[in-house]
């Protein structure tokens, strides 16, 4: 399972819009690179990223090979109540990487 890094503030006030950052270690092979033998490396990408919080999807990204290696996202969510912010990345082979953080409402 690839390494992932997330940044969620530990606490926030209700109604506030907070920045969330998420990154996953992944080569995002675009199918135009060659290995040392000169053969094409096939496309190998993460196809889907979802962030859920308080029972709803905050953001869903449909990734294409045009995104950089180690895809990074920065987005905002509106704070409603304390709970976990869950992250899920899905590979083209179906490999799922998850991560989550607790958000405390003050």
């Amino acid at each position: 399972m690839p390494n992932s890094r997330i940044k969620v503030p530990e606490s926030a006030a209700a109604g506030e819009s907070i920045e969330i950052r998420a990154m996953i270690m992944h080569p995002m092979e675009n199918g135009f690179n060659f290995d040392s033998q000169g053969t094409t490396i096939p496309v190998h990408i993460i196809t889907d990223f979802v962030c859920t919080y308080d029972g709803a999807e905050i953001v869903r990204v449909q990734l294409q090979p045009g995104l950089s290696a180690n895809p990074y996202f920065s987005f905002y969510l509106t704070v409603t109540r304390s709970g976990s912010v869950d992250f899920k990345w899905t590979d083209q082979d179906g490999t799922v990487t998850t991560n989550s953080a607790q958000l405390q409402v003050t």
Partner: protein, 161 residues
């Protein structure tokens, strides 16, 4: 028979070098499969149908000059109140000279905060980056920014192979 023999003799060192050089040049040009403006337009049409986007309500923040096309920071900001009735549903980013014009599609949920989204993209060379946003009233808005790329995401391999 004699004609063919003459031709073979006529293939001097200079013309052979020219042919090899031409072949190498041709393969360099053809390799990455450069896209045209129509490809980006077709990709937009495939996602959003026949509707034409209007310029405005979405902005793109990109560096004017990117040294490497492998990772270009991109931020899209949508001009939307993000209320229950008026919010942005989805946004897509396209690059009109990339081999695959569509870069990513972002679907915004109802609890999304400030309508700003940031990521890093690949660019194959100097080109226009286009962002299209769809609002909850299904209106389409777009923005276009030109980025100068010194070394594209596909250029490095051309030099090596």
């Amino acid at each position: 028979m004699t004609d063919r023999a003459d031709n073979r003799r006529a293939l001097s060192r200079r013309s052979a070098m020219l042919r090899i050089g031409g072949g190498v040049l041709l393969s360099l040009v053809v390799l990455p499969g450069a896209a045209a403006d129509e490809d980006a337009a077709a990709a937009i049409k495939q996602l959003y149908g026949e509707r034409e986007p209007t310029a405005g309500r979405i902005s793109l923040q990109l560096p004017a000059l990117a040294e490497s096309g492998n990772s270009v920071p991109l931020t899209i900001t949508v001009d939307s109140p993000m209320s229950a009735t008026d919010r942005v549903l989805r946004a897509s980013v396209f690059a009109n000279r990339n081999p695959r014009p569509l870069i990513a599609t972002v679907l915004f949920g109802p609890k999304y905060g400030t309508p700003t989204f940031g990521t890093n993209i690949r660019l194959s060379g100097t080109q226009d980056v286009i962002a299209v946003a769809e609002m909850s009233d299904h209106s389409l808005w777009s923005a276009q920014v030109r980025v100068l790329v010194t070394v594209g995401a596909c250029d490095a391999l051309q030099l090596r192979y």
